[in-house]
């Protein structure tokens, strides 16, 4: 590499306090990784003050655009802008193609698994998946047994969290198969970057992300029980106080779908689902639901749910309406089930997993539980069914009291816990008033599946904005970055 860089460029990188972690953009010799070279050449044009001015400009644009994330505890002020970092996370297209293939493989296997569980349970009979895991699953729904949704697909929209460890390996951290959120931020982040740095996009070969809404529409439309007509698609939201309401509304708008709340819908005596319009009732063919199974239908699940639609399960079971993701799909969105995914891939597809799982210890297995209990200070312990980073123990950072409490939880309910070593999560340069600083991040690509399969180009990069923090969840103070998949220059 004997390219001549400007002083400014070198200043930017030389002062970057590279930590002991793998950095996504800058290598250990303090040089940009090949995929990020063009980005740093561009950034070199700006003085620190100019760059900072752009950062402030972005924050203002976000407030005006009302790209918000709702925080439950903020009381009356229900909107909060989600921090956005203007330095993109860059990944080489060559590396991405392998990830893309790995995700397709994984989601194919997961959908085969869910369909198998609710029908023949061959994987249990063949002794690959233990019955006791199934028995302990909170998200296995008796009401879904014997159902075969179109194409045999249950999780139509999946969000798989990827992390990179110290040695550069990309691992799958978890599969979100219930109501994964974040894709609107992926799209909005790209739009913000295009608004703010149009010339940057002329210089770098950045693969576009904006076909997601079209693909989502195709995925949903293919599920319609009335394939001959133009399907009526609705996005079912719990309403304005839900943390992801912005996204629900955004996706409905992008899809040309109707955004409905439970109270807008009614199930007729013909078991079809109707929405209440100014001109009476109108039938709905496909529901992209953004509320959990538990709240979907007070007749079938929680009777106290005011968010759902009484009778909607009946309509779905009779094939009068398609629901994405299908009720019960969450059975595979379980951190204990997760540990079996490589085996599923082998079992259903007769392939080796392209993307590895993070090594995991299952507390339900005596030997592994003993190891976990003896090493609580080194491990991350996760409950099987929580999402959003709630209810986790990060061993090395926990107090002795917290560890003692988790020890009791694990002994009381071993099926509900698994543990993983603390990963050396990779970092990327993130812009602060003082300049660039490394922050930990992950990546959530989204995978669509019904008649066809589709993987987003990249996905949503979430950043832990606090120094040293490993928690990237938007509900816990994380932020996000635009994610670039770039064709490397020769």
């Amino acid at each position: 590499m004997n390219k001549v860089f400007s002083d400014n460029f070198l200043m930017n990188i030389k002062n970057y306090p590279l930590g002991e972690f793998y950095d996504e953009l800058i290598d250990s010799a303090h040089l940009p990784r090949p995929a990020a070279t063009a980005l740093f050449e561009y950034l070199a044009r700006f003085s620190p003050a100019e760059l900072n001015a752009r950062r402030v400009e972005v924050d203002a644009a976000i407030m005006t655009m009302g790209i918000t994330f709702t925080i439950y505890s903020d009381g009356a002020n229900i909107d909060r802008a989600w921090p956005f970092d203007i330095i993109p996370r860059v990944m080489a297209a060559k590396e991405w193609r392998r990830v893309d293939a790995g995700l397709r493989q994984r989601l194919r296997a997961l959908n085969l698994f869910i369909n198998d569980l609710y029908n023949d349970q061959k994987i249990v009979k063949d002794g690959v998946f233990p019955l006791e895991v199934l028995a302990g699953s909170k998200n296995f729904r008796e009401q879904c047994k014997g159902i075969m949704p179109r194409f045999g697909v249950w999780a139509h929209i999946g969000g798989t969290d990827l992390v990179r460890d110290g040695d550069g390996t990309i691992y799958v951290l978890e599969d979100n198969l219930r109501v994964p959120s974040g894709v609107s931020y992926m799209l909005e982040n790209r739009m913000l970057m295009k608004r703010l740095f149009p010339d940057l996009f002329e210089q770098c070969e950045i693969l576009p992300v904006d076909d997601y809404p079209t693909r989502l529409h195709e995925t949903l439309a293919a599920l319609s029980p009335n394939p001959t007509e133009r399907p009526v698609i609705a996005v079912l939201t719990p309403g304005i106080y839900n943390s992801a309401y912005f996204e629900h509304s955004y996706l409905a708008q992008q899809l040309g779908a109707v955004l409905v709340e439970g109270s807008d819908l009614v199930v007729g005596s013909d078991d079809c689902v109707y929405m209440k319009t100014i001109d009476g009732l109108r039938r709905i063919d496909v529901i992209y639901r953004r509320i959990d199974d538990d709240f979907l239908d007070p007749e079938a699940f929680r009777p106290d749910s005011a968010l759902g639609v009484p009778g909607i399960m009946r309509a779905w079971r009779r094939g009068k309406v398609a629901i994405a993701n299908a009720p019960g799909a969450g059975v595979a969105d379980d951190k204990v089930v997760y540990t079996f995914v490589p085996k599923m891939i082998r079992y259903y597809l007769d392939e080796d997993a392209i993307l590895p799982n993070v090594p995991s210890y299952l507390c339900m297995i005596d030997k592994e539980r003993d190891y976990v209990l003896a090493n609580l200070d080194k491990l991350v312990v996760k409950p099987a069914n929580e999402s959003g980073g709630y209810g986790m123990l990060i061993g090395p950072r926990a107090t002795p009291e917290e560890r003692a409490r988790f020890r009791e939880h694990i002994i009381a309910d071993p099926r509900n816990y698994m543990a993983q070593p603390t990963l050396n999560l990779s970092t990327a340069p993130t812009l602060f008033e003082q300049g660039l600083a490394p922050r930990h991040l992950d990546l959530r690509p989204f995978v669509l599946q019904s008649e066809n399969m589709y993987v987003t180009t990249g996905g949503l990069t979430r950043v832990a904005m606090r120094e040293g923090s490993l928690v990237v969840n938007s509900s816990q103070g994380g932020g996000s970055k635009d994610t670039w998949i770039v064709e490397e220059r020769r």
Binding site: M65, S249, S269, D270, Y274, K276, T277, D279
Partner: protein, 322 residues
């Protein structure tokens, strides 16, 4: 169109319209007050009566001084009709409509909300108030223009227009009513110069002064002003104009018999009204009746479109249907 969405569209524009009307009312009144001779009977309390919130005001304030009235009308969140409350409510409605409206509509309403939140306190200061309120008017008008130009003029758009014109007609009748029924009896000589100033204020608060001079009269006389503001078919803030617009909106909607019927009653009432020779009390009675028509129209719109299914307007289909 979902009933809930129709209702939110309707209320969003009613709130936006009310915010603008209140802003204009305050600015116009402030200008008139500067011209009035000392000791004139007119006071800030008239503004509270125009918006019809005397009771609420007295719950929270002791005197009708400028500071109290301004705070109540501009920034008091206990008053659902204050400018801050209206814009807040419009934004909350708009938030549920982001997939229906052009995206910039949300951005502008959100920006207006951020603007008023940061300026509400300054707007109570006499010297800065005018410009801040003018900017609110301007920003709200940019939303109206955006919707007219960038949104399909579909059924949803009709609800947007209906919210606007119901609110506007209501405000015009209130402004006329208060000035006719409250002010005139106090002044023994209705056409004295101070009265002309007040009626000029009325026209200005409806942005009608210039058009009145062009189309009705160069002289500002109560009878002519009232006649213009009720019956002129071309100026977009007259009651007649609002009713005609409402008729064209409702005509686009399904099962519109009941609301159309009330609109026709209101239109005939306005057309048949002989303004000249009416005593202030008679005028007040007429305006009261027009306001009642508007309230009934609102009730019918709610029954037919917002609560249509609950009313059993469309029974659940039998199993053969669908």
């Amino acid at each position: 169109m979902l009933s809930r969405v129709a209702e939110n569209l309707y209320w969003m524009t009613r709130y936006m319209e009310r915010a603008e009307n209140t802003a204009r009312l305050i600015n116009a009144t402030s200008q008139v007050l500067l011209d009035l001779p000392r000791g004139a009977s007119f006071g800030w309390d008239v503004l509270i009566q125009v918006v019809g919130l005397d009771g609420l005001f007295r719950e929270h304030y002791t005197a009708y001084d400028e500071a109290s009235v301004m705070r109540f009308l501009i920034s008091d969140e206990r008053n659902q009709g204050s400018i801050v409350s209206c814009i807040h409510n419009a934004r909350e409605n708009c938030r549920t409509l982001r997939e229906i409206l052009p995206r910039t509509a949300w951005e502008r309403i959100n920006a207006l909300y951020l603007f008023i939140n940061s300026r509400a306190l300054h707007a109570q200061e006499q010297s800065r108030r005018y410009n801040i309120l003018e900017e609110i008017i301007e920003r709200r008008q940019s939303v109206v223009g955006l919707l007219a130009d960038c949104m399909s003029h579909d059924v949803g758009f009709q609800f947007i227009r209906m919210g606007r014109f119901v609110e506007r007609a209501d405000m015009t009748t209130r402004i006329l009513d208060i000035n006719a029924a409250v002010l005139v009896p106090r002044q023994q000589v209705p056409e004295d110069p101070a009265m002309a100033l007040l009626w000029m204020g009325v026209l200005k608060s409806l942005n009608a002064y210039q058009m009145y001079r062009r189309h009705a009269s160069v002289h500002v006389r109560s009878g002519e002003v009232v006649n213009f503001l009720l019956k002129d078919p071309h100026f977009p803030r007259t009651v007649r104009y609002c009713l005609d617009e409402l008729e064209s909106c409702v005509s686009e909607l399904p099962h519109n018999g009941a609301p159309l019927k009330i609109l026709r009653i209101a239109q005939r009432r306005i057309a048949g009204m002989q303004v000249d020779g009416l005593t202030p009390a008679q005028r007040h009675e007429y305006l009261d009746a027009v306001q009642a028509d508007l309230a009934r129209l609102h009730a019918e719109i709610a029954t037919e479109y917002f609560n249509f299914c609950e009313q059993g307007g469309a029974a659940l289909p039998a199993s053969a249907a669908g």
